[in-house]
Symmetry: D3
Subunit: 172 residues, 6 copies
Amino acid sequence: MTTALYPGSFDPVTNGHLDIATRAAAIFDRLTVAVFDAPAKNLLFTTKERMDMATEALKGLPNVNVTSFTGLTVDFAREIGASVLVRGLRVMSDFEMELQMAMVNRQLAPGIEVVCLMSSLQYSFLSSSLIKEIAKLGGSIDNMVPEHVARALRQKFPPNSDPDFIPRHLGG
Amino acid sequence: MTTALYPGSFDPVTNGHLDIATRAAAIFDRLTVAVFDAPAKNLLFTTKERMDMATEALKGLPNVNVTSFTGLTVDFAREIGASVLVRGLRVMSDFEMELQMAMVNRQLAPGIEVVCLMSSLQYSFLSSSLIKEIAKLGGSIDNMVPEHVARALRQKFPPNSDPDFIPRHLGG
Amino acid sequence: MTTALYPGSFDPVTNGHLDIATRAAAIFDRLTVAVFDAPAKNLLFTTKERMDMATEALKGLPNVNVTSFTGLTVDFAREIGASVLVRGLRVMSDFEMELQMAMVNRQLAPGIEVVCLMSSLQYSFLSSSLIKEIAKLGGSIDNMVPEHVARALRQKFPPNSDPDFIPRHLGG
Amino acid sequence: MTTALYPGSFDPVTNGHLDIATRAAAIFDRLTVAVFDAPAKNLLFTTKERMDMATEALKGLPNVNVTSFTGLTVDFAREIGASVLVRGLRVMSDFEMELQMAMVNRQLAPGIEVVCLMSSLQYSFLSSSLIKEIAKLGGSIDNMVPEHVARALRQKFPPNSDPDFIPRHLGG
Amino acid sequence: MTTALYPGSFDPVTNGHLDIATRAAAIFDRLTVAVFDAPAKNLLFTTKERMDMATEALKGLPNVNVTSFTGLTVDFAREIGASVLVRGLRVMSDFEMELQMAMVNRQLAPGIEVVCLMSSLQYSFLSSSLIKEIAKLGGSIDNMVPEHVARALRQKFPPNSDPDFIPRHLGG
Amino acid sequence: MTTALYPGSFDPVTNGHLDIATRAAAIFDRLTVAVFDAPAKNLLFTTKERMDMATEALKGLPNVNVTSFTGLTVDFAREIGASVLVRGLRVMSDFEMELQMAMVNRQLAPGIEVVCLMSSLQYSFLSSSLIKEIAKLGGSIDNMVPEHVARALRQKFPPNSDPDFIPRHLGG
């Protein structure tokens, strides 16, 4: 039986994350989605909020559970008996970061394999930070996150709130 | 008649930006250069300063006007009747960011086309942040920005001022 | 006689840096390893600590000296009579940044050549920031930095200290 | 009035080509789709077949005409009064080739601008050679090319014909 | 139970292929290594030779079998009940090709997942074609392929045979 | 004293090659430019022609000599006492190929260092094959190769000769 671990910040979980988790759940016996537990000056949601949103979104997948963790991902993988780390690949720069991560994780924990899955084309341009940027600027995020996540984002960014940041992609 | 929108932070406008704007003005009927209006803790110049420098630099192009905007770029494009978003391509990582931006903008506003132009080789390594880094470290920026922009940068960074940052490219 | 300059933040020096310095010292007559002197809110070690760690690590190479500098790298190169800037290439994004740096440095100082060496495969995934991340999260950095650097990192990050950051590669 | 030229082998025209042509026709006054006229040991279709398929596929766009050409693209552009070369961007390696082409074309013909458009995500993985590979191996190409092109491909590759090539992507 | 398919030309099988197959065999219940059966003007070894070398090299892995196939990989996957296609990632251009392949395979066969594994650093620069190039030029391939494959390559390229090709990497 | 080897096909030598050779000659004591001696069905010029053109082009550099070689580059480097292999970097895909070559050469000959130099921006889009393509299609190559090379190319491709190839960049 192969247990896979899908770690991340999930701030918040996106349809792209759910796509990867669904694909991983179909090919591995058990999947643990693990939210990194950080105090998170730079995060939008608390660890509990991030876990709750992911749990709600993944409740239809029986062999998936959601938890949180601290410390090195590979140490947590060993703790829960996971032999596979799942990663979603989207763009070129992802690939480099994933390659670097895979190599250093392999040195830290030789028995744990990094497995890369490719998200659906329609989600291949999504990221949590991009979605937060769209929400801040008042754009529609309806096909990018589940409805309960969209609601949570709209509460964080009410209409006509001033952006206090320089948008990288979608504004200037 | 095709109206094109060239959005950016322009903090400050560089010879690379001017190269792209000149190329765009030659192939589209009207070009609006739009400065993103941000409070800008992380910007060097105010929105007004950034607009004034761009306006001065582009005054020789009759079918170009400079303005500022907030909110989503695609919403502003619709507001001014622009069907084309102009982007300048320089390096690989630009391309990825532009591709991501194009895809999400297409989802947000299907009728607006992203058009990528390639800057002259001699400007292909320039960016506003790199030029600010050179100016901070006391280097010459004379062929990288128009003279009035070079003057403004020299006023911000007088000689022998201490850098309060870690240079990424040109120092350590 | 060719003098080469290998500039960097070296916060701290890694086995990858030492690999590049050793290769450069074998093909050039003299090599100066130069630590950028920054106040460094974002650095972990002081300029003196960074210089001391590099000096200790490189003491076995007779034609190498370690120093610090401020201002533009090319200005410092001219000051010490170096005609070559040494850079280590690891990953694709390195290459782009190096290409950009080489082009702007060439404009600032036409007589100084940028020379890129490739690190050993085993160090190709290392960076100072990644190693600091591993140390913060309590992982082993024994084959990534010299022993005296590993000791210095362990003193900065005692076991069971809480991470105050969101890990990019190795945690969430 | 801006005339744009969209050159290619179009062996055969794909839905990705049609997507780019449609986008270009919407933002430029006139678009010429030009099939390179080559004896074509390595092509599947004759120049006439390639032109006929493109003409049929683009007949719904009133400001588009299809023709053939030989020699340098920029020479043909000057001949027909086109000031814009249209190119479709799909993947990273496309971008490099396009950048190289843009730079050499700019040296050969400074007044002609290369304009890059991005295809729809659903066509971003298509290429004529990949589609020919799928057709050779007996796969369905129904959503990848117009129906009349699919018919032409099926005639070239009847079922149970032996592949005389090593598939790069879809077979071994 | 998850059956995975690892398809390729394997002309010949390398230590990099064996590394990926070993990793895949550890995380999936059953692995089929499938040699594409091509007449192969451009191949060095016959289908039978390629299968025999792979079989010998993989005989120590009980849940792995070697076979050959023709036609689309996804059709063969369905035929043998495989829900996973295994691919090894080495360099950037691999990634692009794999992404393209994954997307078109997903359109051809939505239920089959492409899973990318990363080879060991020491094999990350190996390819069958590079190894054949080294062997042709008289270099040592001892740590790049199993001993029985090295023997077969030496028989194909006796010492002092003239290269009838332009080496891309290792000669001119 | 450091001897450097700059190997290649040089079919024919371009201004980009000369730029790299000039840079290498400035930082190393001696430079050998070595033309790979291949029967060369796919080459345009004979080994002697390629050597003669390179010799003529480099005659102004006193510490440079031109020769030919067969076999592995690293074996030839050892034969002439070169400890450095010089390579010119232009584009991203160059970098990957160079990285792969450096790694396999390092395994074949650990004492020989690969050193990458960056060509001038104005030559960064040139390659021998692109220049041959331009010459075949009747374009001007005057700023891309030395005059004697341009003459040789014009003799190979008289005006109005039919292209027997599909241009990749500059035609269709």
